[in-house]
Symmetry: D2
Subunit: 347 residues, 4 copies
């Protein structure tokens, strides 16, 4: 009953197999391996983007920070949600990689609305050289609150960016879970909806440590390659990044895992709802933020359920005290574990 | 009737004289000039801080960015007001000089309250290495809205910083105007109130282009010197910075100019109030933000009064439409100009 | 017959097994995994350094750049060989991570002599704030020319650094090969010889992508952790870095692989010498730079031997024309391959 | 008899007058002053470059670092002389402003030859993304050794840069002295000779603290403006930079001062030669590096002559011991002082 994070789970056996298969003899280093050719072709195919520039790095923060640094100048500001991973969880990596760009927090929730973005861009009146200049917009889907941008929402917010000539980055650390939730094509969720660059996550969804960075405009390719190398994110034994991503993409494994995680989360949410629990945020993919009575939390905790509390520390002793929790389902959670959790809940 | 800014006015004649006097023969370069010895001694004396490290730079942004870079690590966040000059008007200079630190905006107004600071620091729960680490607090007085931290306010907010071990920087681009408003000693307004480093402005108050950076803990001295040089802010013909600051400090000229500017602003405010005008912010030093009817603004404007509108552009034609303006009095404004402006207002 | 690089070979089966074993259930993320405890304890034991700070990253450039950034200030210069990887092969990663420090090239060869270091440090007369300040010394062993610092050499060069209070970093991308060549203890080759920080390589010696950074003074620990996170080099599924390193260190696999690689290189060198070939540099570990006649090179090349030419491109057609080559033996080269290569050579 | 530096002398009275004249009433801030219009027009006229982008900063290091940052990417290397000011005397300001670019030292003397540049560029074989990428070439004239690039030399070296598509920057901290030595037009010494950007010095030649940065391709204008602001080098009371530069350029004062300094240096050199002294470098502008016997140095020193020794410290007591000195003539040295110095020399 491990719901603490989707970055703590195991690697899917088929991805381990891909690694084993790749482990034969010598291979060209630094991304010139044949598996990378497969990965590039497959991603271009999946995204219906035959010209896209495609690169692999090992961490989501590297994907985000390098993508943003390629899109932003140091004197610009990046528009993002106040709960964005790039703002809250990357220890200033975007500021470091961009050479000192700023992050402007848009609105007060996880999904940026078109209105809030327009207001933020307008408020960032540049006053000539004095203020930070307007830079890229960075969206996240699935968000850190477990919700997913609808296609209409995406199109509306990217339309505002386009009005000001600003490029749009999508932090897709949980891209597959968002796609499974929307049930649309990757192209529809990205370039057809106005996205210019994607951090396409693998790590949280069954890989060992690999993310793709995709630019639909290949003009960014060479600069990205230099930034990746200078950031120390170019792997010499690159084939092992390629192999993970190849295994992830073969036969739709990536989407199968995300669908399963989302389905298990839905089962969990249904059980929680049936038990009368409310939620901090609408659970739309593989994360739920239920509010539990302290007594229930204690029972679950003692039975071995692992998850993060969401409102800081526990203090007070009232057994009815409401406790917010974050429950994340990764690909490896089984429906048995869900049921076991729900049984405990109802006990 | 020039109220547009205190960075557009002339240099005081006594400061020009100090420059002329300094212009004799050769002098040691790079801050080893005898005038700098005078400046250092005088500032230490004025601040009752015999050990303080004192340096000169030519712009307020340099003073702020170099002071903050000396106090902050690149992985930290600087706590400041959302209307702070370092956030809104320095084109990411603090981010550049700190090597990519973040700015956390505290509260929603110009003066940071102790409560808002505590909340912001707490919200910046550092989560180990994941979030930005807590860094220095930067206050501004006179603020960009023309108000001044009271000594109690200063002490309360620095006490919070001290609770978390965070150093406090004061952006004193209008230090003299704030001091004149408080009518206390420089020591009381700074280190006795918990301030660790000061940008002590000269440029806006009658100098040509000089600001002092003061660290009450001289342990910062050598690092600051290296940062200043590396930032290209160390003047070879440094005596001309020293001469400005020496002339500024001699015989209390700096405070006399600030008192005169504040007094003229008070005269202006009294006239505006008498004419029934209201203000966006409480005018406490040398800046006022009155709300004028469009017809009044037009009359003043046509008569040659120069000032900035504060709510963006004029649109609409209703002569009663309220227009917010920013009026700044520098040392060179005369009471005749004030009276002339007020006569136009009442016309 | 793949001698092109030790970063193109396969992962040792026992390291793949360690990865498979680690792939069970959930584990704490971000370095809090139990395998990291094993790795830390083992490295402290191997280095006889019970207090050492030990961290894992995935690339050698990350290890070097993060270690140097922790030791150097942005206004300093790092002393290194003109052929150092940090200078020639990291696309300015050290400059990026240090925030703009300089690299001063010492001497004209791969191993820095005490005399050359002293001369370079003295030449970097700091002239107060004007010149770059003296910063850390970075040594490499095995060097990019295949030679190894003797213990006396190491002690002599670190003694010079100590005279000036400068810390010493060792780029040990091929640490195990150097250690095997010296046949001493890791402590003797490092802290007992005056080394303060080590990039302890795994990738080139049979791992998939893992390097340890070791600081013998644990005071650097927290800053390094922040720099690693901000550099996007902290892995969420960290156990897979730990597992590689654990497998590498268990039962002396790391040294066994290095010894085998060195032995095969010695066999290769002996054969080349017997065939009358000369060498650009003295082959002391697992790399050799023989000078081959063009005709020999062509024969080897056509038979499938893979290696890099070392003097740029081939032009000219004289079959006796001397061609410098770089031959690298990794752990996976067999003595049969060596013999096959030598037979071709003698044909 | 002050020959220590041309950055320690006084400001020319006509420049002080220009400052006094500018000190009337209010003026537009941040470079929008009318005097800047005059300066821009005059520099475009002097350089026969009607489209050139022209900006003012207060220090030579700011001019160089900002110009180079505009021309270079962080992953590139700047080609310069090993004695260039940007390498030896700016405490890593170019590395800071470029975001971590490298400096490649070309040849072993003050003027870069076409051959040495070609060799350095070729040696910086970029090896794909691994090595630093080739970036701008930075030349200095008058060099730090007092010599001047001939027009043929300039054209030859910029032709090499052009072969590789690299832009060329000229550090003209002593531009006027170099121009006076060459007796050609500013256009001939710059864009007609292949120079793309110039740091056009005023400070060392009679100004208080002002340098122009000139880009012959105005496409760099906006980026430079943002970099200047973000570097804290945009003056609010900009008219006082403009006034200095305007006074400097009016009626050819800038060239008159440089010609006088050069003529006095020539008089000094002739006297030194007549007294049998030799020189470390050929004195071509306003600096000379004579080798004096210790006894002569002592006599001059005791009589009050001020200059820097060039070979480090004095040790030893042999009165015939040769001592290298650097003598700099600025505009304010009189021929009487020269004669007085020469009389002492001959005594």
């Amino acid at each position: 009953m491990f719901f603490a994070s989707d970055n703590s789970g195991p690697v899917h056996p088929r991805i381990m197999e891909a690694l084993m298969e790749a482990n034969q003899g010598h291979a060209m280093a630094y991304g010139a391996d044949a598996l990378m050719d497969e990965v590039r072709a497959r991603i271009r195919d999946i995204f219906e983007a035959p010209e896209a520039a495609v690169y692999l790095v090992a961490t989501g923060t590297a994907a985000n920070a390098l993508a943003l640094a390629t899109l932003a100048q140091p004197w610009q500001t990046v528009f993002c949600s106040p709960v964005a991973h790039i703002h809250e969880d990357e220890c200033n990596a975007p500021e470091f990689y961009t050479g000192g760009a700023k992050l402007t927090l848009v609105g007060d929730t996880d999904r940026i609305s078109a209105e809030a973005l327009r207001a933020a861009i307008e408020a960032e009146e540049t006053r000539g050289v004095h203020g930070p200049q307007r830079g890229p917009v960075s969206l996240t889907s699935v968000t850190e609150r477990g919700t997913v941008y609808g296609l209409d929402e995406l199109r509306a917010v990217t339309a505002v960016a386009r009005d000001y000539g600003l490029p749009v980055h999508l932090d897709g650390a949980r891209f597959a879970n968002a796609l499974a939730a929307l049930d649309c094509s990757p192209a529809e969720m990205t370039w057809k909806a106005g996205i210019d660059a994607v951090s396409f996550g693998g790590t949280k969804n069954g890989c060992m440590g690999v993310e793709a960075v995709i630019f639909f405009d290949p003009a960014h390719a060479w600069e990205f390659e230099l930034r990746r190398k200078r950031g120390a994110h170019l792997f010499s034994k690159h084939r092992y990044l390629s192999a993970q991503m190849a295994g992830y993409l073969r036969d739709g494994l990536w989407l199968d895992m995300a669908r399963q995680a989302n389905a298990n989360c839905a089962r969990l949410v249904a059980g929680l709802r049936a038990a009368g629990m409310e939620f901090l945020h609408d659970p739309q993919a593989n994360m739920a933020f239920p509010i539990l009575p302290l007594r229930t939390h204690r029972r679950l905790h003692e039975a071995g359920a692992a998850y993060h509390l969401w409102n800081g520390t526990l203090d007070g002793d009232d057994p009815d005290q409401p406790i917010a929790a974050r429950l994340v389902c990764d690909w490896s959670i089984s429906s048995d574990e869900i049921d076991c959790f729900l049984n405990l809940l109802r006990a």
